[in-house]
Symmetry: C2
């Protein structure tokens, strides 16, 4: 598309306008179980058959399926018996619940929680704070209190984070050679998918998931198999309770939830607990130094405004926070995917 | 991106997931007046200056501006006084309120009304009906009663439709030579932007906007200048009241609001009123015959589910509806933009 065409007809603006339609079509096909049914059935199905099996209207289902065809999430074949739909390969891998790389849970979190918070983006920008009160009628003073407002919400959030590590976990853990560190704490480790990637990638490591008591209970019940002896748990609030000694601390998507003061406070505490020769691994989505991108990270930084007290930062900003806490020899690795890695040493 | 990369890392799925973030960033920058301020100021401004002038938080505004840079809706320049932001050309033309091609009003309608209806897309697909009740607590029995539930909502809707015709109106009216028809009725002509395009493109034509009484009042007050003598008005409900005789009837984005029965009923009435040798021009977004796209039209058809009693249709489906009403010599012209044209003759 040349720039003259751009100006004569605003293709890009129309595309941005339809962004929420695209998101909701994909989320809804996931939520209703379209991709799961087509995976299980093993053969292409008609719109009517899918509607009956999933208990939906036929008029709604037919349009949903056709929009998924337009998004290349489904394929359609026009046969003598009518249109028959099947999954594309990418849908089988990422949009079915049972796949090891399933993104189903993060999509449900996006669709049912984040989408509604973002309805109040203009208010968030005006006020400079999160929008749980407008979206869900709950106090926004403690963002994690709001995010974990019910067992169901906590489970959705934890499962969602695990989805992300199923596609990004290996890259952030392989960004640096972490094999010298055998005793690792994953602060705010939640559902434990990153811890599991870690013990799988570094067979000599043990990882302790440090998180709020209710999160640890949920992780044990729902996510981390009891036979995984290289993963341990520690219940606590890392701002108010002590942090035990270890060789490496992972802070994965933690600092982005908090303002600079709280980050400094937490990193100082981590530095104090850390064994000499040990270190801290930050896993975050890094902004370019010149504010030009990446777009995903800029959007996530807005999401931090809408949902937390934090923001996304540049590599320089994270390095300064680490150095202010006492860490040195700071190294940065961009993975080319959503999340990057920053390592500081004591 | 090769298909192997696709399967290893679901770039397309991440992009679809972020679609609603992209929409809301653009809508919010419009709503807060960022593009208007940068157009008026005539010089690049800092994030802090913009926040002060627009009465928003600095932390929220900075991130909003940076995300707009990522979307190429703003440009940033890093100077000694810090980052300075300016509009891109496309933003000046399409995202400022004062521009003749402004899309501001349709974006406000999308952002504040359509976005919330779409939160309930899964329910819409399950139930096969619109979601005004869940989104706004109002009865969904009469979609236009719901859409026009307040003067403000009606104004937003009418202004939004006018935005669309400012970029697509000329193409749909020039798709066929309409100069033989001088006496034209625009049924459901709303805010009149298409009527204005029509009298400008066909100087010998007069166009009567036929719409509900309250819509006509609003069109006269807000949109159509009284000195435009080639545009007249007719107050009525085209399903329940009579339709006067004319040479050409325009039904622009009307049939897509209704099911096949109501379309047949309306077209039969139009055929009866139409002068011999006259015709009807349907302006709609046409689906491909093989259900493969266009994506925008598939998405709009889902929107018809969420907001109306209708759907988008293929050229063949519209031709059949026209022929069932008695119209012949049906011709179809795709414009390559959002809306296409179908002409039937009596």
């Amino acid at each position: 598309m040349s720039s003259t065409e751009d100006l004569d007809y605003p293709q890009i603006i129309l595309q941005y306008s339809s962004g929420f339609l695209v998101s909701k079509v994909m989320f809804t096909a996931c939520e209703l179980g379209v991709f799961d049914l087509l995976l299980e059935s093993g053969e292409p199905l008609s719109s009517d058959a899918i509607a009956v099996r999933l208990g939906t209207s036929t008029t709604g289902m037919e349009r949903l399926l056709d929009a998924c065809v337009g998004l290349k999430l489904l394929r359609v074949e026009l046969t003598q018996e009518g249109a028959l739909y099947r999954n594309t390969e990418i849908s089988n891998i990422y949009l079915t619940k049972s796949s090891p790389k399933s993104q189903y849970h993060i999509m449900m979190y996006y669709s049912n929680t984040v989408y509604l918070c973002w309805h109040y983006l203009a208010d968030a920008v005006r006020e400079g704070r999160n929008q749980y009160e407008r979206a869900f009628g709950i106090s926004s003073k403690d963002p994690f209190g709001a995010m974990y407002r019910s067992e169901e919400e906590m489970l959705k959030f934890m499962a969602g984070q695990n989805s992300i590590w199923s596609i990004c976990g290996r890259d952030v853990l392989a960004a640096f050679d972490l094999s010298p560190f055998s005793q690792i704490y994953d602060l705010g480790g939640g559902g434990g998918a990153l811890a599991q990637e870690c013990v799988s990638l570094y067979p000599n490591s043990t990882v302790t998931i440090y998180d709020l008591s209710e999160v640890v209970q949920m992780a044990k019940e729902q996510f981390v198999p009891p036979e995984e002896h290289r993963i341990a748990f520690h219940e606590g609030d890392f701002f108010n309770d002590s942090i035990p000694e270890a060789e490496l601390y992972i802070l994965s998507k933690i600092l982005h939830d908090w303002d600079d003061d709280k980050c400094r406070q937490l990193l100082a505490k981590v530095y104090k607990a850390c064994k000499p020769g040990g270190g801290v691994l930050l896993v975050e989505s890094l902004l370019n130094e010149d504010k030009s991108g990446p777009l995903e990270t800029q959007l996530y930084s807005m999401n931090m405004l809408v949902q937390t007290e934090g923001k996304e930062r540049t590599a320089t900003e994270y390095s300064k926070l680490l150095e202010a806490a006492g860490f040195g020899d700071v190294q940065v690795k961009r993975t080319g995917k959503l999340y990057d890695a920053v390592l500081g040493k004591k």
